[in-house]
Symmetry: C2
Subunit: 286 residues, 2 copies
């Protein structure tokens, strides 16, 4: 089986490594718009050889693991360029704009929209690792629009990578991930900036901050180039989540300003209800 991976960063590189482990017979072709990343991916043995555009049609499956704005542009061209039996799977963190981009495409049924809930704050081929998707949820969106045979081929391959698959429509996906993923990233990016603004001497942070700070600000290390298009494609939901968050922060500030101990306690105790949810996630291996 010939598998192509376009975009050899954390996600694409980890797809290649996972396939190499779980499907040792596959031949892996890779492409990246950065010649440095392509070279690194070949050196790290993520893929066997370079994938050129005119080889797209030779692929049995082609993964797109590039920023979501690039996916919207490239996906229709990829569908044009593949054979009538190639399955194309995208791995982006937004889904509505991507499925919309190919809604009328004659080869829409060769495309499967996927979002693996897996990642780290690192990026590039060197951040890729074999076990990234192990036991992790992957959301398949609007999967009924993929032809049954292609869908089954995709499911079989994703399950071989030990992803746990769930199904959702693209609009619902984008709404939920705005709250449970995208908002966390905004909160962390801006928390990082607030502290950097205040603490002019980085040594002070290094000395005084503890594991709680590190935990809340970890995502501020994430790739700006990857996240800007995600926020923009999911603008409506992200803004709604962000304004709700700002509203809660203002409520907290008001309670503190008014020295309303009861309300402060109530706000925090409500938030404590996240505890069983985090325990459930840990049990699930999220």
């Amino acid at each position: 089986m010939k598998i192509g991976v376009i975009g050899l960063g954390l996600i694409g590189g980890s797809v290649a490594l996972s396939l190499r482990k779980n499907r040792p017979s596959v031949q892996l072709y890779g492409a990246d718009k950065s010649s440095l990343h392509l070279q690194q991916a070949l050196e790290l043995n993520l893929v066997d050889c370079e994938l050129s555009k005119d080889q797209w049609s030779q692929m049995d499956v082609l993964f797109l693991a590039i920023p979501v704005d690039a996916t919207v542009k490239l996906l229709p061209q990829v569908l044009e360029g593949v054979s009538s039996s190639t399955l194309v799977i995208d791995m982006g963190s937004t889904k509505a704009a991507i499925v919309e981009a190919v809604a009328q495409h004659p080869r829409r049924d060769q495309f499967l929209a996927a979002h693996p809930i897996a990642g780290t704050e690192f990026s590039g081929p060197q951040a890729a690792f074999e076990g990234l998707f192990e036991g992790k949820i992957t959301i398949l969106c609007d999967a009924e629009k993929t032809a049954a045979s292609s869908r089954e081929k995709g499911i079989e391959l994703l399950e071989a990578m030990h992803m746990r698959l769930i199904y959702m429509d693209a609009a619902a996906h984008d709404l939920h991930v705005a709250y449970v993923s995208h908002l966390s990233h905004v909160s962390s990016f801006m928390l990082g900036q607030t502290v950097l603004d205040m603490e002019k001497n980085p040594e002070t942070i290094v000395e005084l901050a503890g594991s709680g700070f590190a935990s809340t600000v970890r995502l501020a290390k994430s790739s700006a180039a990857m996240w800007a298009p995600i926020f923009q494609q999911n603008k409506r939901h992200v803004l709604k989540a962000l304004y709700a968050y700002i509203g809660h922060l203002n409520t907290f500030a008001d309670a503190l300003e008014a020295e309303d101990t009861d309300q402060l306690l109530e706000l925090m105790k409500k938030a404590n209800q996240i505890k069983p949810i985090l325990e459930g996630m840990a049990q699930n291996g999220n």
Copy 2:
């Protein structure tokens, strides 16, 4: 050496366990206003026996590891009740109100104000563990107001627990921790609440959220009873930090609303500067 610990939760319990390991000859006395926690602490062998008020004067060192509002009330009474050679150390997360509460106390020089930058989101005697302070920073505030002999006794004991000691005045301490600790807690508490508000079915969060969400919201599990007085005692600085954070979130929202990609990228790239700081913290073992 007889050592008393008032408050047998995560911090006090871990003090007892660390002393038991690193100073096996100490006799450990403990008190907790919750009879359940006291019983648990005795069963878990955190301390050897109960500490009653009339035994305060027999202690060589007495640790206070109780909520900071309780510390402000109890500390003057404790100083009254101890002997003239007892050292009293508090372990609270705020410092200005605590040192202020005993500024004029005739036994001020028997008191050492300490803040270990160590903790977890768990609380109670069962959350205590021996290695909590291992290699962690502890800030000693206004240490010049402690008599030299008492201060040296305290330093010797804290260093035996493998804390790394740094010195700061109480006002500066409260300002810095508002940014590098207290703000992280507010951000996490309110992030938890925002997501709980939106996602009425906890299963959705369990299914869809990943490690990034878990990381940013972990502190929302923290004890409300412990944190309300911290926020209140450090109200001025916490509000300043919180308003700065809300300001940055609004700037981000405005840039997203205006589809200003350049500004979004700039905001995130600025936040990326937290990366070497987090690496420095990891190297330090924070």
